[in-house]
Every structure is written in structure tokens, then in C-alpha cells.
Symmetry: C2
């Protein structure tokens, strides 16, 4: 059943490879390997031919473990990077690719990793490297029911984490400890992992990427908490902003504007809607309330095997090597509320993950709103 799902994905992949003129993929990005084979780990690779043959290379220590988890036709274990390079060369020869095109994950590979995969002892000189980012995006952008179920489960875990983080908010507690309370709760609730947590307080709520510090919350501070659990590979994204004390009238008003913008946007989510319309809605409500100069960041991103993935708003997508997104299809998962309202001395962000349905959005990060802890 598991194997059947991955074989179906590999078949769809080979069709897209043909359309894109790719003869073979050489993948090292864990999310992409997981999607096609059921396993994605560090220091490993998956080659996929246009005929659907899957060849894996993993550390020699991992062959038994991977064999129990992944769908593949051939597997080889290597001792080190030199062995990895030689095993890739072996596969190119074995699979019959002395020329043609190999798809690499350009938007993922850094120069060192790219150097390994295109090393003259790995890739035949006549094989041309091309980018396969779009192939993998097209494959992964719409989720199947099992994937949706995992994102839903991650949403539940995210809510558990948020409850624990909020319970830790009080004057004198560090931003880092608030993050830790949520992370530990998410692990106990079933997350095997999480992406970097963001927790900021006071003036730091007004910066774009408020990673936690050891700064301590002061009475009356706003506290922004953004958590990202991973459940069986799939993520969810939740953010809440609260006040460690009594918010002032300006903060209350700004919060209401932001929440109104978020809810108006989520109300428009359904199959067929354009990402641009959602972005305009979110920004429009904030602009109309006089916060035009307080908006920063694209308000929406896709959710799945990656922390942030397609669909991304058109402007943002370009810089991530992604194409402008098509109208949203049912079973796409998105996080709404990724932009903030940055008023200067403080900021507000509230973010939820939803599944796009035929008639509307399913909220998977159900957790109460409001500035009160």
C-alpha cells in the first residue's frame, strides 16, 4: 500500500521528466527523496530515471534501515564522500546515461554539495545538469488524502505546543524558555521534529524574523510565538501574539485589524482562488485600516514536507526558484498570516494553516485568538 503510493508518485514524476526533457534526477533534498521513495535522510541520494527506476545511495551503516523504509530498485552503501561520488558514477553507467540531462535541485544545493554531485568522477562530462525544482514542485503541490491527514495531525500538535508556550509566558521568563516549553510539548504530543521556533518579545516583536534570545519578558510586553511541528514528515505552521499583562488600546486595535485581515483571507480560500487575490485581501484590510506602512512579508506560503514550500506568492516565488503559482487546487495546504503588522515599538502576527477545499478552507491549527494569555 505504502509502496503502491510511492510507485504512483514515481510514475507521475517520470511523465513530468519527459515533459521537461530530463533523463534522470539526482536528488539529495530530504523532502523530495521522502516524497518519491518514503525515506529522505542526510548524506544520501536518490536517482530516478525517466523509466521509473530508482537507485539509492546511503551511508553503509544505513542500508538495512533504509531498506525497511524506502521503495527502490537498487541500493548501495558508501563509506565516505569519495565512495558516494564513485557510486553515483557507477549508477550513471549502470543505468545507461553517458549523455543526456540530469535534474539537480538548484534551489537546494549549495556550491559544495553541487560540486560533489557534478564532480568529474561522479557525473559523465556529456551529461548536462539542469534544474528540476519545478518538476518536484508540480509533483508535491497538491496533497493526497494521507498527506492531508498528516498535516491535520501536525496542526493538532501545533495547538498543543502553542498551549504550552502560552502557559510559560510571564514576566521574567526568557524568549528561549517560552520556545522550549512549546517544543517539548510538541515532541510529547507526537512530533518527531520541528523547524526553528520563533519567539520574540517587546520591541523585538517588530523585527521580521524574531528568533528567540535569552531576553526576558517584561510586564506589558507583547510576545510573538511561531511554532512548526513535523509529524511523520509533514508540517503545520501556527503563530500567536499575546500580551504579558494588559495590552493598550492601540495594541488591541491593531490586533483586531490583523485578525480581521486573517479571517477575511481565510474566508476567501477555496479551490480555484488565485494566491494574488488572497494576498491582496490580507494586505488590503491592513491598508484600509491605515497600516499600509506597517506590512512586511508575503502573507502566504505552502505547507507540506518543507517548512515553506510552493505555492508562494508570485513575487516571493521568483526568488525561491519557484514559478508563479497556479490557482489553488483542492488539497493544497497553505499557511495564512506569514506577514506581520509592524507598528514600530511592537508587532503583531497571527498565522494558521489551512487545507484548501472545494467550497472553503479547513483550519488545521485550531487554537484560540486574542491578546490575553
Amino acid at each position: 500500500m505504502e509502496a503502491e503510493r510511492h510507485r504512483e508518485r514515481i510514475a507521475r514524476c517520470t511523465a513530468l521528466m519527459r515533459e521537461s526533457g530530463l533523463d534522470v534526477l539526482l536528488l539529495t533534498k530530504p523532502a523530495n527523496m521522502t516524497y518519491l521513495t518514503g525515506d529522505g535522510r542526510l548524506c544520501a541520494y536518490a536517482m530516478v530515471t525517466r523509466d521509473g527506476v530508482v537507485a539509492l545511495g546511503v551511508p553503509v551503516t544505513d542500508v538495512a534501515d533504509v531498506s525497511a523504509l524506502a521503495v527502490f530498485d537498487q541500493i548501495v552503501g558508501f563509506d565516505d564522500e569519495v565512495g558516494m561520488i564513485h557510486s553515483i558514477a557507477h549508477y550513471f553507467q549502470e543505468l545507461g546515461f553517458e549523455q543526456g540531462t540530469v535534474g539537480l535541485e538548484n534551489t537546494f544545493l549549495n556550491g559544495a554539495m553541487r560540486g560533489v554531485l557534478t564532480h568529474p568522477h561522479a557525473k559523465p562530462a556529456a551529461v548536462e545538469a539542469k534544474d528540476c525544482t519545478q518538476v518536484m514542485t508540480q509533483l508535491r503541490i497538491v496533497k493526497d488524502d494521507e498527506e492531508v491527514a498528516l498535516i491535520r495531525a501536525a496542526g493538532g500538535v501545533a495547538a498543543s505546543g502553542m498551549a504550552a508556550s502560552l502557559a510559560a509566558v510571564r514576566p521574567g521568563v526568557s524568549e528561549s524558555e517560552i520556545a522550549g516549553a512549546g517544543e517539548y510539548a510538541m515532541r510529547r504530543a507526537g512530533a518527531e521534529e520541528f523547524y526553528r521556533s520563533y519567539v520574540s518579545s517587546g520591541r523585538r516583536t517588530s523585527i521580521a524574523h524574531g528568533l528567540p534570545t535569552t531576553a526576558k519578558v517584561k510586564t506589558g510586553d507583547l510576545v510573538m510565538i511561531d511554532l512548526h511541528p513535523v509529524v511523520d514528515g509533514y508540517g503545520a505552521d501556527i503563530c500567536r501574539t499575546v500580551c504579558a499583562g494588559q495590552p493598550d488600546a492601540e495594541q488591541e486595535a491593531a490586533y483586531d485589524v490583523y485578525l480581521g485581515a486573517l479571517q477575511a483571507t481565510i474566508a476567501k480560500v477555496k479551490a480555484g482562488v488565485e494566491m494574488g487575490e488572497l494576498e491582496d485581501t490580507m494586505h488590503g484590510v491592513m491598508r484600509d485600516a491605515g497600516h499600509e506602512d506597517h506590512i512586511f512579508g508575503p502573507p502566504i506560503h505552502g505547507v507540506g514536507l518543507d517548512f515553506e514550500e510552493a505555492p508562494l506568492p508570485a513575487g516571493h516565488a521568483f526568488f525561491h526558484g519557484e514559478a508563479a503559482p497556479p490557482p489553488l487546487a483542492a488539497n493544497t495546504a497553505i499557511a495564512v498570516g506569514n506577514c506581520g503588522l509592524y507598528a514600530g515599538p511592537w508587532g503583531i502576527r497571527v498565522e494558521d494553516t489551512v487545507i484548501v477545499g472545494a467550497e472553503g478552507a479547513e483550519l488545521v491549527t485550531a487554537f484560540r485568538y486574542g491578546l490575553t494569555v
Copy 2:
């Protein structure tokens, strides 16, 4: 004082740039920006000229925050990626670089990020991009006393985390929960962050990168725990392997071999020693005990602002875009025990972080050894 330290680093940097034929650096790697300016954040960049002028670009929301933390001569805030690109072009013009060479972090940049920095609207066509990895490595490989103090502090936090993780080890607890207990303790003990924790149990202790899963520990399982706290930017690396029950004689014997190899290696650490000699010592003890086929992974890596940084063993270094390391200088920080002893059904790894001194090593991750919880 803080500013003075960064100005001294910038002066050393410009000398290395001249030697390397680099006219200007364009940095986006947080560790490198932190080293030279005192602040390194996401979605930001630092340009450093061979005359020591530092120009920063940050999200417009972050200008005040960065201004309070970083050393720089010019700063600009941008609204989005288009603004970022235009601000880079502005600086190239303003700083007088219409031709020459710009140093980019090849081993850090993925294709998408590289595309932004070398976009025709950012980098003048006549400015040639070169790799600046070696310049930054040479700058950062030997730590000053303040850096050593932070790595020492991180070592103490690592020990607190290990104590909490070990206290959570018992049959029925998930690998993920054991990780979470340690992470939460590290945040409470003063870490603002940590790198990905590795926790594996049972058969999974024999894989190369044992990231935690929701698998539950069973009676008699070995459990491998590898933690990496970050304190004021600087890391420490600790790993312990314990048994959730009574280890068998073979496990006890293998543990003793591994610990002997680790201690023999640490005993050889002092200024002037070659990394290769340390690697040979570690592997040699294991080989001599009959575990030649059970060794996987380079046994040593540098520790500092990055999770793993120079010095790296020569073979491994090449694939990370680093040069073969020079003999260790005093005030270099290294983690010893990064390789494992993988016996098949289980594995053992014990790792400590040490500071290289004139006469020997200072252990910064002091925490008891032994298979017993």
C-alpha cells in the same frame, strides 16, 4: 569594546581579502556576518570592502534592532527581495565597485540565493564573483578569549541538556521526547538556540545520522543522544550512549573500546598537533580492537559559530569546500568523537568538545561517561 573587537576582525579580514584578490565581500551567512559585525540574521547581507567599509542591508522592520547590535558604516532597510537587489546595486555603485571581484560564500549559497546576489540588477556585470569560503575560515578558525568563554558556557549548557535527556531515558519513552527534555533544559540553562538534536534507540543507533523519531525505547535498548546548544552564537557538541536496562558484555566491551579511543585522542590534543594524527589515533584504537569494519564518519570537526566548521579532517574538508587543515593552533575548538562504532544491531558514539591549549586540551563538555543511565 565590542565595536573594537569587530573593527580588529574587519582589519584582519581586509588583509586576507588583499592576499586573495578580493575587492569586496557580499556575505549572507549568519555566522560570517556575526563574526565581522556582531549581528547575523536571516534575509540580510553585509558588504565589506578591502578598505574596511561595512555596509548592511536588512529588512526595513529590522533597522533599529540591527543598529543597536552591529558594527557598520552604512545601513539600508528593504521592503522585499526586489528592494534587497536594488540596495545591493546601490552599494556597489556607492562603494565604487563597477569592476573587480566580489567574494561570495559558495559553500553556503544555494542556487536561488546565489541568483539573488548575482542578479543583473544587483551585481555589476564586470564584477567577477569568486569564492570567499577560505577567507572566512582563516579568520574564524582560531578563537579569541571571549569566543572561548562562550564555547565554555555552551559546554556547561550541553551538560545540563545531557543530564535532562538521560533522566528521561526509560522504556516506553519516545526518542523525540528524550530529545525534547534535553532541548528544554538547554533553553532554561541559557541557550538561545540549538542545532538539530540526534536521538536514536535500539537498531537505529547503528545509522549514521540518528535523528529522533516517535519510536519508543525498549528495555535493553542502547540510546544515543547528541546535543548542540548555542549560547550567544557559539556552540558545543556532546554525545553520550546509554543503555535502557542492562547492557550485554559485547556492548560493554565496545563501549570501553570507544571511550578508550576518545580519551587517547583527547590526550594527544595540544597546539601543533596535526588533525590527521588525531584521526589516526581515534580510528587506530578502534581498528586495533577489531572494529575496523565498524568505523563510520570523520572523528573530529571544528566548533564555533557554526554547527560544524573548520578544522575538518583533510578528506572531509574537501567536500565541504574547506582546505586541508593546518596543525591545530591554541584556542581552536574541536569536537572529538564524531565518528561512531557501528556494530550492526547497535552503535556507540561518545563525543566531547575541547579547546586546544599550548600543553593539552581543556574539556568543555564535562559530563560522566558510562552505559548506565
